[in-house]
Amino acid sequence: MSGSLQNWEVSVFYVMFGAYLGSSVLYWLWEAIKKDAFRQLATLAAIVGLTANTTAIALRWIISQRPPLTSGYEFILVFCWGIVINYMFVKFRYKLNALGSFVIPVPVLLLGFIIMAMGPSERVASAIQPALKSQWLTIHVFTAILAYGAFAVSFGLSIMYILKTLSNQSTDKNTKENWINRFPHESVLDELAYKMVGFAFPMLTLCIITGAIWANYAWGTYWSWDPKETWSLITWIIYAAYLHARLMYGWKGRRAAWMAILGFAIVLFTFFGVNYLLPGLHSYA
């Protein structure tokens, strides 16, 4: 039974990867060709990808009989889910289709990393150490994926903002209308990016706090300056600086967009860089 479920899990993983990849390509084609059918297909592919993503998480949960939040592979699965669910919310709430071209490629790259760099032994459900058997872990990772997902969306919005302002500069020089002109007004992109950070920042804080509570139960220390903890604090500081600079110095627009891009680069480093370059207590995820 477990064996056949594992086969299903592998199949669903590739359906998810294919759907997200297809969605990205279709979004780009829609940007280039302007045919609405591509946009609809891209959205459909993203929905198929999200369904497969949810199924993959559910199957792993059934196979391992615990929330699938304890290995690098499992975290990437839920990270992708967090990104796409945040994207779907913004897409349907604000009718922002073009965002898909910049956000959906992020899970494609993350899943591509699993395919390229993770061996079969790293992907299968395996036994977990006693320290990971805690309800705090579930809240810790759940808040992390919501925060990271929203940061990914703010990253996509910030890229759109920069492209839009660059395009505006060139249209001043009488360049023809291009696909970037169909993006919403830059002030809308800027404020939405801020809104996403405004949602994600308290989530990241809660993620760090629940991690500290859990560490205190497991190891008797709420903060040990482990590289993962330290880099999550650096991520927190970068976004705190983003919020302050925006509010106090009017760092809206392009400066804020670059800060959001830097913030997401640090989010990715906190996950990949720390796991693969810097050793520490978080070596499992």
Partner: protein, 429 residues
């Protein structure tokens, strides 16, 4: 002289009030923290830290997070946050509890603005009041010279978000500081049946002030039927003046607290129990696997070490080594009940396998303060980001009657505009 010192004081206050200083300090703290993850730290990798060039070691880069200059940076940030918060307290108080209606219609915000005309001034005033109250706004009003001016506010407590966040951060740092300056941490590695005085544990930091005994009743490495490890369990008793005052089973993630001291299950080491027969005198010896401890036979230079335990748990095989000061003098393997003569000095018999429990013992008086800081931080963030205040001010000329309305835009122009438009639509209907 007095003027000069006043000027200096004002200048210092100005610097500490500046958000720029806070941002610069945050940036430096982030940078230094990042450097600390790239350079081996004394607390995590002592050998790696020793290999770092002396100049960096002397500058504290191999113990960044406990270095005085890192504490100084945190201290400066706390002072900055405190000064900023105290200075802005009055403004937040006024904004929340005593907002002032605009004195002139020219003071009404213009970015998000609307003008509504009606046929009856009094009716328009009543409609405006009812509509705003229905939407949860609190109205502060002023009437003079035929004009009704007001300010209406919703989610007023949201004004306290930034203040709460900054104070929470200071509390958090103070809690961490309390923990690092007082309290203690220690470690126990013991097998079942062992009684240890709390004053005899290996101390890593601080001093033990209490005096009681700790008895390890049982140690278990519980494996589930599917072969996965469930958890490590230690049943322990606290004994005061010969009386058992508390008994509990702890496991990873489920510690026990007694008199401000918390016992955490952190590790488990398999081991074995032996009987040593030395000149007709028999006594038990317990050894940890992989050379965690040793047995030095009294009056000899022989050290018995348990190298490894292999085989089925029902039929274990242990591998032992015997050393003198300079080299290995004997090695071999034993199954339960088997004996071996060690250099004609004593006989060792392998009785059974046992478990050693590794317990971290901690007392951190600052931890409650840290959780208070964390709680306030979350409350502050919820107030600042999910409970944003909406303020609308207006002026109604009761004689004309024309109502000018404007909303104060802050962080979210779009959201405020939406809320404002709803109010305006209702008033126009």
């Amino acid at each position: 002289m007095s003027n000069k010192s006043d000027e200096l004081g004002e200048k210092l206050l100005e610097i500490f009030c500046s958000m720029k200083l806070g941002l610069v300090l945050l940036g430096i703290i982030a940078l230094v923290s990042g450097i600390g993850t790239l350079i081996p730290q004394q607390s995590m990798d002592p050998n790696g830290a020793q290999a770092v060039a002396e100049i960096w070691r002397n500058l504290g880069f191999t113990s960044v997070y406990s270095s005085p200059w890192f504490h100084l940076l945190l201290g400066l940030l706390c002072i900055n946050l405190l000064v900023c918060s105290v200075q802005r307290f009055k403004r937040f108080y006024k904004l929340t509890f005593a907002p002032e209606p605009p004195k002139e219609s020219s003071n009404i915000p213009k970015k998000i603005n609307a003008v509504i005309s009606g046929s009856d001034g009094e009716a328009l005033r009543q409609k405006t009041q009812e509509s705003l109250k229905k939407k949860g706004f609190r109205i502060t009003q002023l009437e003079k010279e035929g004009k009704w001016n007001f300010i209406a506010q919703k989610h007023g407590m949201g004004n306290w978000g930034p203040f709460t966040i900054h104070i929470a951060f200071v509390i958090l740092v103070l809690g961490a500081l309390t923990g690092s300056l007082s309290g203690f941490s220690g470690y126990i590695m013991a097998d079942a049946g062992r009684e240890v005085s709390i004053r005899d544990i290996s101390i890593e930091k601080g001093q033990v002030k209490e005096n009681f005994m700790l008895k390890i009743n049982s140690v278990e490495d519980r494996i589930l039927p599917n072969g996965e490890r469930d958890n490590w369990y230690t049943n322990l008793s606290i004994i005061e003046s010969g009386e058992e005052v508390q008994r509990d089973t702890i496991s990873v993630n489920h510690p026990l607290t007694y008199k401000g001291m918390t016992f955490y299950q952190t590790s488990y080491v398999p081991g074995a129990e032996f009987t040593v027969d030395m000149m007709g005198k028999k006594f038990p010896v317990t050894l940890q696997s992989r050379g965690g401890n040793y047995f030095n036979a009294p009056g000899t230079n022989l050290y018995l070490v348990l190298a490894e335990i292999k085989g089925d748990p029902q039929k274990p095989v242990i591998f032992y080594q015997v050393f003198d000061e300079s080299s290995q003098v004997k090695m071999g393997q034993l199954t339960p009940g088997q004996s071996e003569n060690i250099q004609d000095t004593y006989t060792v018999t392998f009785d059974k396998t046992i478990g050693f429990t590794g317990l971290q013992v901690k007392s951190d008086p600052g931890v409650g303060v840290v959780w208070l800081g964390c709680g306030l931080l979350m409350i502050g963030l919820i107030l600042a980001f999910y409970w944003r205040p909406v303020r609308i001010s207006g002026s109604l000329d009761l004689t004309e009657p024309i109502l000018t309305l404007g909303a104060y835009s802050g962080k979210y122009n779009m959201g405020i505009k939406k809320e404002f438009d709803k109010v305006v639509d209702e008033l126009k209907a």
